[in-house]
């Protein structure tokens, strides 16, 4: 109960922020919320189920391109196209999972990485449709969901908030559910879980599909919100970013992804405003953070007393 209250309070705080934030941080917050949704998706696979994928950009960009292409070239309604994003993420994750989940550990990392790389190259190769590395912009009409115009800052924040709130509460419900317990058990000891009558393959596939679904939803929303779909979102960098966000915030925590995403976002923002050698600062802070909190910030909190933190 106390934990539910804590999470609801965080959500309320995030919702209230939009009224006090100045314009720049207002947009940043909307970005962070969508990227944090992506991180939550990654965390379901990595933090809770122990699946370290290096190919999640496939699901993020897959959702972004599905929505973007359907609305831009397929003539779909933005609403319908937006729904195609998570669907694409989920279907891609199911396809990748069926093959990649035959492997584990480093081999799983490489297999997922390879599928994502192939997708990235395909986006560049079929540039006639995808715009290649340049990508394409989405028109104003493509970004209007019925009466809601995603180009409007308040609407955009609202959309980002709804997506994030749904993802976070969904994640909270999942990890406190019976299914969530099985996922965690698979992470902790796959063989033992099998001997309790669960099929680890099915559990991992489920986790990966949910993860892909959220990643795809985040990618689709990001594309519509900021009017741009591009190949750089499919690059390896976007597979590594959620890993950093989740590890910084705390893998296997519900709030960790948000914390980690916001932290890295503002770390880069702040570093580039104090020095031209900003990567130096970012690198140093990452190292200090990990020395101080090897299991992420919320992981540290969990070790220091808040043991029931989900």
């Amino acid at each position: 109960m106390r934990m539910l209250a804590l999470h609801l309070a965080v959500l309320a705080g995030v919702a209230a922020l939009q009224f006090v934030l100045p314009a720049y941080h207002h947009t940043n917050a909307a970005r962070i919320l969508v990227l944090a949704t992506y991180a939550i998706g990654f965390n379901i696979a990595f933090g809770y189920t122990g699946l370290l994928s290096l190919g999640h950009a496939l699901f993020f960009a897959g959702g972004m391109y599905a929505t973007g292409l359907l609305v831009d070239q397929g003539g779909w309604q933005p609403w319908a196209a937006l729904l195609a994003g998570p669907a694409a993420g989920g279907v891609l994750a199911a396809g990748v999972g069926l093959l990649a989940l035959r492997t584990a550990g480093p081999a799983f990392m490489i297999v997922t990485l390879m599928f994502a790389q192939a997708f990235h190259l395909a986006i560049l190769y079929w540039g006639r449709f995808t715009g290649g590395d340049e990508g394409f912009t989405l028109s104003g009409a493509a970004r209007r969901l019925g009466p809601f115009d995603l180009a409007d800052p308040a609407t955009r924040y609202g959309a980002a908030f709804l997506l994030f709130a749904a993802a976070m509460l969904g994640c909270l419900a999942l990890v406190r559910s019976r299914t969530g317990r099985v996922l965690i058990a698979v992470r902790e000891n796959e063989e033992r879980t099998r001997m309790l009558g669960y099929d680890p393959f099915r559990a991992k596939l489920l986790a990966l599909v949910l993860s892909g679904l959220l990643s795809g939803a985040a990618g689709a929303t990001y594309g519509l919100m900021f009017g741009y779909v591009g190949g750089s979102f499919a690059a390896i960098q976007y597979s590594i970013l959620p890993l950093i966000w989740v590890l910084l915030g705390g893998a296997g925590t519900v709030l960790g992804p948000l914390l980690g995403t916001a932290l890295l976002f503002y770390l880069i923002d702040w570093a580039s405003s104090v020095t031209t050698a900003s990567q130096f600062v970012v690198g140093a802070v990452l190292i200090l953070l990990v020395l101080f909190a090897p299991r992420g910030l919320l992981g540290l909190l969990r070790e220091r007393g808040l043991r029931s933190l989900p």
Binding site: R181, I184, E188, E191, Y198, D199
Partner: protein, 233 residues
Amino acid sequence: MSLLEARGLVRHFGGLRAIDGVDFDLSAGEIHALIGPNGAGKSTLVGLLSGRIPAQAGTIRFDGRDITRLPAHVRVGCGIAYAFQITSVFPRLTTFDNVALAVQRTGARDLAAATGAALARVGLAGEAGQLAGTLSYGHQRLLEIAMGLALAPRLLILDEPTQGLATGEIESFMALVRSLVPEVTVLLIEHNMEVVMDLAQRITVLNAGRVLARGTPSAIQADRAVQAAYLGG
């Protein structure tokens, strides 16, 4: 009535004939012990029965159904539970969560109540909130058994359950096992002969991947071949 029938089981590891043509039967409601010297193939045999290790030849029928090709987790669903030799609880989860994982597999409605009951049955109700990894060794073994029991199995396989337990703990463990039958059939791998002779109604002796003897405790104690290979050293 026969609950489990295994015929002609074979499992080789490279050149090692871990199990080499074993027939094995369990009657419903009995406590059956599997004994044999180290390396006799006991763990491999229960591995074959539980599905952790695939058989290279032979058939296994459980309750009349051929389960030879079924993966381990499906066999658990059929009612075969396996409690690990080396404690293999989830150390970073709470005691409650450990048992709840097993309880929820049975589809229990009220998970909290059913889990509480399962913990109470082995006397761990007081440790529900503790991380399993922080429990004492004996308690971890009890937790392991609680997880097996919570699956509401028809056959419970206990792999060296008393290893590392204190004398007092062994007593209460034996009482617990006795209380399970005849609803549950128990297959016990055990080195402690006192426990075996006291608990088991029937015993199968394995040696070098083959069945050396089977029978009641007294018959086994009297068997010369067994004495030669095992008991007498």
